[in-house]
């Protein structure tokens, strides 16, 4: 296992260098240098341009520039954003990254839960109207033109019905007189969600291992207690209005993302279930006289879970990349929207910084996925 890990790590490092080299050559194939982009901007004084030229080493020979580029990447020094002047690129990215990650973690988790639950039923009731409608509906949503579907959701639930806000991260009118800034509220929300999920997960694992008769009651009670505690802490802190505002803005993008992506998981679960159902232990479970529900949930579904978990981890890795479309539609200020708006406003340092960051994120997530896969599947031993 350690040998495999080292090998993967070396591969990832090589890939990272190839990726950075590619980025360097694409950027350097452009006429002029990075500081030219600032030449016509009245907000950027000449001294800043000179400092930038020093920072990127544009007057040095090419191989030195390349070394500077690699060094800047590893020290997180991507220069200064042009559309967010005078904020640094790293600062903008650090603000945007958590928003993307939270949005897509929630949506991916939801869509896999929904897809797995539906796929289970689908494999069990083959040939019925349920299979037909959910397959056709799921595939339609899966291949729909995403921006258009997002638009229809906004139009229906935000514009016509007025239940939810139209895009963006928060309501500026509400936040105008706020004594606290959005990032700290958002970070507190992430912390809360993390603590609650760890506690609930621990309760589930403990009750599952002890095989207690009243496990279900303990689980429900723990979830209820946790939500009560969260509500209590947030209301007493006084920032609950702002947290609620951010949550309301999250609903529509999360629902849209879930709807367009659950069909993939559903079909995958169905195929995997159908393969597992032919195994001998399923027949044995039936012969023991177990109820159909127990055979489905405890014997087939658990063994069919592996490919689903793998695809879940891989789709988390690509979430940051796929975010471009949804974030642009819902004006959600995450990495994808940052990349698009930086590209459209020709903010080259921010665009390259965001791109390099997305690349590194995908690489690291891939490594994690590989390791988890090797750990989860007992058939794979390195």
């Amino acid at each position: 296992m350690a040998k495999y890990l080292l090998k993967r790590l070396a591969q990832i490092l090589v890939t990272l260098f190839v990726f950075l080299t590619l980025v360097f050559f694409i950027v350097n194939a452009q006429p002029g240098d990075v500081s030219n982009f600032y030449a016509l901007n009245p907000d950027v004084p000449p001294e800043t341009r000179e400092r930038l030229q020093d920072l990127f080493g544009v007057n040095e020979p090419l191989w030195k520039q390349y070394l500077v580029h690699i060094k800047n990447t590893f020290t997180g020094n991507f220069g200064i954003s042009f559309s967010h002047y005078p904020r640094s690129v790293a600062d903008v990215i650090m603000e945007r990254l958590p928003r993307t990650v939270v949005l897509f973690m929630t949506a991916t988790a939801l869509s896999f839960y929904l897809g797995f639950a539906l796929g289970k039923i689908l494999a069990w009731r083959r040939g019925g109207w349920f299979e037909y409608t959910s397959t056709v509906g799921g595939v339609t949503l899966y291949t729909v033109f995403t921006p258009w579907f997002g638009l229809m959701m906004i139009w229906l639930f935000a514009f016509k019905a007025g239940w939810l806000p139209i895009g963006k991260f928060l309501d500026p009118v509400l936040w105008r007189d706020a004594s606290i800034d959005a990032n700290s509220v958002f970070n507190q929300m992430i912390l809360t969600a993390f603590v609650v999920s760890v506690v609930v997960f621990a309760v589930f694992v403990i009750t599952g291992q002890r095989r207690m008769g009243n496990a279900r009651i303990i689980r429900i009670a723990s979830i209820a207690l946790a939500s009560l505690a969260v509500a209590g802490v947030w209301i007493s802190s006084g920032t609950v209005v702002f947290a609620w505002d951010i949550l309301r803005h999250m609903v529509l993008p999360v629902v849209t993302l879930t709807l367009i992506s659950f069909a993939g998981t559903m079909l995958l679960t169905r195929n995997s279930m159908l393969e597992t159902m032919r195994e001998d232990f399923v027949m044995a479970a039936r012969a023991k006289g177990l109820p159909e529900r127990a055979v489905r949930d405890k014997h087939v579904a658990r063994n069919a879970l592996l490919p689903v978990v793998t695809s879940f981890i891989f789709s988390l890795a690509f979430a940051v990349d796929g975010g471009v479309i949804t974030e642009s539609i819902f004006s959600w200020p995450g990495m994808g929207q940052t990349l698009v708006s930086a590209t459209l406003t020709e903010d080259l340092p921010l665009a390259v910084g965001a791109f390099v960051f997305v690349g590194i994120f995908v690489l690291v997530a891939h490594l994690v996925a590989d390791v988890l896969y090797a750990y989860l599947d007992p058939r794979i031993r390195y």
Binding site: Q11, V14, T15, V18, F19, I26, V27, A29, Q30, V139, T140, T143, V144, F145, T146, P147, W148, L151, M152, I154, W155, F159, I166, L274, F318, V320, D321, G322, V324, I325, S328, G336, L339, V340, T343, L344, E346, L348, A351, V352, A354, F355, V358, G359, V362, L363, H366
Partner: protein, 316 residues
């Protein structure tokens, strides 16, 4: 005398038998394809859009006057207000700049087909070459190509396209090339290699080698034909992703194309009609539905081809 006859008879008979076998397997595969039903729906939609694309130049040369109906520079002088609702002269109305929507739709259908075809061809040519060469030679060639494939697979595709569109002007041709290279050296190449691996161990490859066949000859004549069915399947999925990427990028206003379905929605958005879905439906629905329908059509054809080509699924 009889020996001469036999020499003459064998090649013709072989040729006929091969043709008969090919036709028979084609008929069997067609029946498998028809049985899945979803493939037929996909083919029907593709046929409809192909007809629309073919009809556009004919209409432009006969019924439609270019000054009014040109998809890019035309202007509907007969309407007092733009965007005009659907009428007999403009079946799907006009856009905020006074151009006929139906003409734009049909004009774009042709470029979507060309884009899809080019992207799929580039993907499959590269993918088949990578797969066959990696499987046939093995060793460091294989290692090199598969590490390259790793890099391509890990590239965040949409972000790459966005950054490239900022740095170089991307049109349909460049877009097709980029998608083809990313997918051909990446995922498609890996899948085709795993198929090629099962081909290179067959006895006839050894036979060809001992008969003195060169590397190039063996790869081209004995390996590549066995990869073609799977290549064809991956062409379908590439078409879907090419049309989708084009639509997304031109919707975001990042492509330098003259007209496309994504650009039609972009025009609607920049003119501010995007949320008036019921009042100005002809500005939003035709283009969006076309993208959705054509993408899912190629996806459906790919799914049912999968059942025909993929031996793992066929038994079901």
């Amino acid at each position: 005398m009889s020996a001469v006859n036999a020499q003459h008879a064998v090649p013709t008979a072989l040729w006929r038998a091969r043709l008969r076998l090919a036709l028979q397997s084609l008929r069997e595969n067609w029946q498998l394809f028809v049985r899945t039903r979803i493939g037929i729906i996909g083919l029907a939609i593709i046929g409809l859009y192909a007809l629309l694309a073919l009809a556009h130049p004919i209409l432009m040369n006969t019924v439609w006057e270019p000054r009014t109906y040109d998809p890019v520079v035309g202007y509907a002088f007969d309407e007092t207000q733009q965007p005009a609702p659907p009428s007999l002269k403009h079946l799907l109305g006009t856009d905020p700049l006074g151009r006929d929507i139906l003409s734009q739709l049909m004009f774009s259908a042709r470029s979507e087909f060309l884009l899809g075809l080019l992207a799929a061809t580039v993907t499959v040519v590269i993918g088949t070459a990578v797969g066959a060469i990696a499987a046939y030679f093995g060793g460091w060639v294989d290692t090199l190509l598969m590490r390259l494939a790793d890099i391509m697979i890990m590239m965040p595709a949409i972000s790459v396209l966005i950054v490239l569109s900022a740095l170089i002007g991307v049109e349909h041709f460049e877009l097709a090339l980029i998608i083809g290279i990313l997918s051909g050296f990446g995922a498609t190449g890996v899948v085709l290699k795993s198929q090629a691996l099962s081909v290179v161990v067959k006895p006839y490859i050894d036979a060809a080698r001992s008969a003195g066949g060169g590397h190039f000859h063996i790869i081209l004549v004995h390996i590549v034909p066995n990869l073609l069915p799977l290549s064809f399947l991956y062409m379908m999925f590439t078409v879907t992703s090419a049309i989708f990427s084009e639509a997304v990028l031109s919707f975001l206003g990042l492509l330098d194309v003259r007209m496309s379905w994504g650009l039609m929605i972009h025009t609607t958005e920049s003119a501010g009609y995007l949320l008036q879905v019921t009042e100005f439906w002809w500005l939003i629905f035709p283009a969006s539905l076309s993208i959705t329908l054509l993408c899912s059509a190629f996806y459906l054809v790919g799914r049912s081809l999968d059942e025909v080509v993929n031996p793992r699924l066929r038994s079901r």
